[in-house]
């Protein structure tokens, strides 16, 4: 399915698209392969053939044009089979363009909100690494993202969810209309986290004054047996911090909170520059390289 070249359809302006996709990864012996890898415009899934040691696979989640137009909707289902490791990446920032009014083709729709939904199942002894590029909400954009993760009791996941303030080169800083992101994690059917991040410019400049001086915010969820070494290395570093009085905010800041009696964790960080956050995350999560191989991990945070 991933070798078929799909011609981009000729469509009237402002037609909204609902791109569904599904990726199912299974292990057989020492390799992993997709029993399903389907997608619809504007979503595209790409799994490069790489030489890896073990049941590890990588999938790129792409959108045509590298961005999501007002009203677009992406619905992705992912199933990480037992003993597999799946690295999910994007190729470049997910740009969310400015919201537009009701669409011509579907006046009943709320054409304005751009939506992405990810529903992931992480089975026994498997690992999901969701390490996308950040979402960039352009001025006047309206974006809503729902990500749900169903983990087996011994399933593991590292989930990165981050966003930036816009086209900083254009002086566009937190001029989005609305950004909402939900991450819900269940372990063995029990909800352990429901993180809801909501930014709204009900009054122009409100978000900017609340989030200043940082232009990029990130959250990383860490769950499961496989993440313990990463969690430990983060905790060790965090515990050395002795915060003295500062005269002004630092260019980068991070916090780490234990979850599930210390067996899981949530890391939040913010930086004035997206690049600062990217470089920091790459180093902070470097232990992950031992789980999937350095070659695979190196594809993240490029």
């Amino acid at each position: 399915m991933d070798n078929v070249i799909t011609p981009v359809p000729q469509v009237p302006l402002r037609h909204i698209f609902h791109g569904r996709g599904k990726a199912v990864l299974n292990a057989s012996g020492n390799t992993a392969s997709f029993s399903e890898l389907s997608y619809q415009y504007p979503l595209k899934l790409l799994s490069p053939r790489t030489v890896v040691d073990g049941p590890v696979a990588t999938v790129y989640v792409l959108s045509y044009g590298g961005g999501l137009v007002s009203g677009d909707r992406i619905d992705l289902e992912v199933d990480v089979g037992e003993r597999c490791s799946l690295l999910m990446l994007t190729q470049g920032f997910t740009k969310v363009f400015r919201a537009r009014g009701k669409t011509i083709s579907d006046p009943g729709s709320d054409g304005a909100i751009t939506r992405q939904r990810l529903s992931a199942t992480v089975r026994s002894e498997s690992l999901l690494l969701l390490l996308p590029d950040p979402v960039t909400c352009f001025a006047r954009s309206s974006y809503s993202q729902i990500q749900t993760f169903d983990l087996a009791p011994d399933g593991s996941a590292i989930i990165l969810d981050w966003f930036t303030s816009g086209r900083m080169s254009r002086g566009e800083v937190w001029e989005l209309d609305r950004y909402r992101s939900v991450n819900e994690v269940q372990i063995d059917g029990k909800r352990v986290a429901r993180d809801v991040m909501l930014l709204e410019n009900l009054v122009p400049g409100r978000v900017k004054s609340r989030l200043a001086p940082y232009g990029c915010y990130a959250t990383v969820f860490l769950f499961g047996p496989a993440v313990q070494p990463v969690l430990k290395s983060l905790r060790v570093e965090y515990d050395t911090i002795q915060q003295m009085q500062l005269g002004a905010p630092e260019p980068f800041i991070w916090s780490l909170s234990p979850l599930e009696k210390g067996k899981a964790g949530i890391l939040r960080c913010a930086g004035k520059e997206t690049e600062t956050v990217r470089v920091w995350l790459r180093t902070a999560l470097a232990e992950v390289g031992k789980l999937v191989g350095k070659d695979v991990y190196d594809k993240a945070f490029v």
Binding site: R194, Y214, P249, S255
Partner: protein, 298 residues
Amino acid sequence: MELTPPPNIAKPSLDDSEAYLLLLLADGNLPTGAFVASAGLESFFKHGFGGVGLGGGAGGVAVKQGADGTVEFLRNSVASYARSASPFVRDAHAVVAAYIRGEEGLGLEEALAKLGELDALYEAMTLNHVARRASTTQGIALLTLYSKGFTKPPGAPNGPNEEEGVDMEDFVVEMKLRIRRGKLSGHLPICWAVLTAALGLQAERSVWLHLFLHARALLSASVRLNTLGPYAAQQLLLHRVRPLVDEEMKRCAPLHAGLDDAIDGLEDDEDVRPANTWPLGEILAARHDLQHSRIFNS
């Protein structure tokens, strides 16, 4: 100066027993555990926000800068707390009020189970160990306050709830037992709702008071941090806090916790669900324990 009547969402007249309850609950000496919580304010100043350094020289200029910083923090904190916690106060209050009324199918077990679900959802939505700690510490303090400070001593006349035949004292004892057994966390918004419903305070008044007390505690913390003068704190309380809390009450009126939202219900185009609206505040609050020296617990 003309004082306008107090804010009143449901527009009942302010009767004497409600006024009395408000006086009691707004008492700064009430043992609620709020005294040691700054809700991230200390960390905010320590990390160089708010334009003034802690433990630096106190003087006219420094204190003024502190006032601006305090107001900035107050605005963002009240807005974010209103959005994340008030739906839980409202929903929990409704459960307890229904239980007290003797609603069909809502016995002690069912009511506690429902509160347990709300409590677990609040825990799942508060992913910050400092905030969790501060929330449960204060929550449990409120239950203790009810048991030891507000139950009827022997020989006193009947209170507003006793006619119903429902014993809130047993209810609270059972809740504390479950907390001790680890079945319940005992988060502040839920416990506040239990306390106020047990005392007979009406729902919207309870939510309003909770936000007011959150704001007031922040101002007290700022005074103790020497980032705000005591008179300036009173000025803010009279002139700034009220419109701020009123605005948030209006915005948060349609909110509910979203306990029964299935996957599709996780969308919230109408803005009726709890959310974290201040990621910077989250990080600063979580970093509280990293401070080399600190006077607050959170």
